[in-house]
Symmetry: C2
Subunit: 374 residues, 2 copies
């Protein structure tokens, strides 16, 4: 194996591949980046227990002298390429399973990993796949994945539940204290389908997706999903099991509705969270709709002090006075994913879940369970 | 106590005071910021076991209604002021030793600390003091303090040894593996003097000093030094004990001298450090002056691989071929404090300390002890 390539081009793709590289893995081969040099292109592959990435690298700067495959220790390889001087880097398989890296005045030899130990990964593309615009896919992930559970005792809740129904693609996530739901419209109609994709896989996928007009193809298999995005294949396992029925959790009647300026509400809740003896964002904050239609956001920590914020609603309040308490972390995370600058908080009752919607956030809702206080 | 002030002005000074605020202290009073409101100004005081800061706050936005003194929990107070909306903040001493903070639509009450528990700090200015331009003071600290020891078994080496001799002010720091030395010229002549100032105090002082043309006054006391910088008084303890005689450590004869482009030398050593099984910058790097006057920088780690860098000297090498090995951390830290873009490395022998100087770094030298390799 021997080829030359523009150093920045190689680094750009290595940093994508790095998303599926694990430093802690029982299988040392998975600390490696697999490089297959073929006649006209180079394939870069990485994998950990949850996701695998395969990149097809074709570039004008690519000069292939000899084909072949190698498995290179990922962490050291990326650090070396990042630090090299010069425009071009030359990689070649030297004797004794060593990789020779040459650039400018640098001559580096890196011990390689055993290629035979690398798993045989299948990045199978299907004939039938779902096509989504990359911006739309990013929106649905950004507005749902944060609400997945990080606790492993109900593994199914660590994923986002995607359902396809005709032209609708919905994502739902809940950790049982809050719920996020967003539906987007697809350009074509597809057969009905339900899968649960791990939240962490989606977070890594987000880092690869850019803000352009390209499409992403979703190829579904028995227990895996393959995202095809330009020259990158991103494979994630699916979560097995039945996702809970969430539609019943969402109240339908909202006797009290308040429209807020989103930034004002966020900063008031942030300040009310400051004086909490509980760590950081886990503060409990109270919301009180006063008779005079001013909203009080408050918190009280006998050892530290108390905060009282007055917030003026954007429109007249619908409904009657109400007192409710909630986790500041949950409401802040929910508010921050809205694109709308004004949001409507809709209450059913003082101990019932409440929801948040926004005029410019179509088919999206954030639901939060209140907490009981004295 | 009751006053109003521009919020940003208050925050700016609180962030200076924060440098002497400790979260971990056996004395809870030292977690507090002391505020003394007098007729025409406010005094902000903080202290930990090593340094104390006193700020005289006079500002057009200051509106004092009632004088008095309070001790406010520092961490919460700074976070609140940082997060407030509105231009102006009002602070007042409410009943039950509570501080009332009002701004815009926020009404915050913070439990205060017991003022009587606060130590009586003396920020005594002397009639005789040393005057140094702030940029010059920053230079001497930046070029020496990094070389102080961080290990407490020889406490005196955790400080920078400052000596005044007529118009010369020198700083020397060593952790016994490397040594930094810089001398600056003062505008006036002073009596001879020697003190050792803790490196950590100097690092905190650096964060307060700006890049302007102001002067800093150094007031020396028996076991303390007071830096006066505009409206800020910064008090540090001095280290007690005899600083070792360092001048004998510096070789005077340099049979081999090599002038390098500083950036080329830094990046070559950085790359040679990458493949080290020792953590990060503690890699051992070898330097080899070849017969053909090319310098080889190399490292070798049997488990990981090896790096060989060729560096071309700026001028003809003075002296004969030589091989030497050193800690990459020490040489990189030394190289990075030079202002010169070309540096001269001067060798006495393969197991003797070597020094680095730079044409545009007057009266500064960096010394490094080599390590033995096979």
């Amino acid at each position: 194996m021997r080829f030359e390539i523009n150093k920045d081009k190689l680094l750009y793709h290595l940093l994508i591949a790095q998303k599926a590289l694990s430093n802690k893995t029982p299988n040392p081969a998975l600390q490696g980046i697999k490089i297959d040099v073929e006649d006209n292109h180079v394939i870069i592959t990485t994998s950990n227990s949850d996701i695998s990435i395969k990149i097809l690298l074709e570039d004008g700067s690519l000069d292939i002298e000899e084909t072949g495959s190698v498995l290179i220790p990922g962490k050291y390889f990326i650090e070396i390429i990042r630090k090299l001087d010069g425009q071009t880097v030359s990689l070649s398989h030297a004797s004794d399973n060593m990789l020779k890296i040459e650039a400018d005045h640098s001559d580096i030899t890196l011990n390689m990993l055993e290629l035979d130990d690398y798993p045989d990964l299948k990045f199978n593309e299907k004939k039938e796949f779902v096509k989504v615009n990359v911006r739309t896919l990013k929106t649905i992930i950004r507005q749902t994945a944060f609400a997945t559970s990080t606790i492993e005792n109900r593994p199914i809740l660590t994923g986002v539940h995607f359902t396809i129904d005709g032209k609708d693609l919905s994502g739902v996530a809940t950790d049982s204290y809050r719920l996020s739901q967003k539906t987007i419209n697809l350009e074509e109609s597809y057969d009905a389908m339900k899968v649960v994709i791990p939240g962490r896989s989606l977070e890594e996928l987000m880092k690869i997706l850019e803000n352009n007009q390209d499409d992403v193809e979703l190829h579904f298999d028995q227990n895996r999903v393959l995202f095809k995005y330009n020259n990158v294949l991103f494979l994630s396992r699916l979560l097995e099991g039945n996702y809970p029925e969430t539609s019943k959790l969402i109240p339908q009647e909202f006797p009290v509705q308040i429209k807020f300026n989103k930034e004002q509400l966020i900063t008031a809740i942030e300040r009310a969270s400051l004086l909490s003896s509980r760590d950081g964002q886990n503060a409990i904050v109270k919301l009180n709709v006063r008779q005079d239609d001013v909203i009080e956001i408050s918190s009280n920590s006998p050892e530290i002090g108390r905060v009282l914020e007055e917030v003026y609603p954007v429109d007249e309040i619908k409904g009657s006075p109400l007192k409710i308490a909630f986790s500041s972390k949950y409401i802040l995370e929910a508010l921050r994913v809205f694109n709308s600058s004004e949001v409507t908080v809709k209450f059913t009752g003082e101990i019932r879940p409440f929801i948040i919607t926004g005029e410019y956030d179509d088919d999206m809702l954030q639901l939060i369970l209140p907490v009981k206080t004295d």
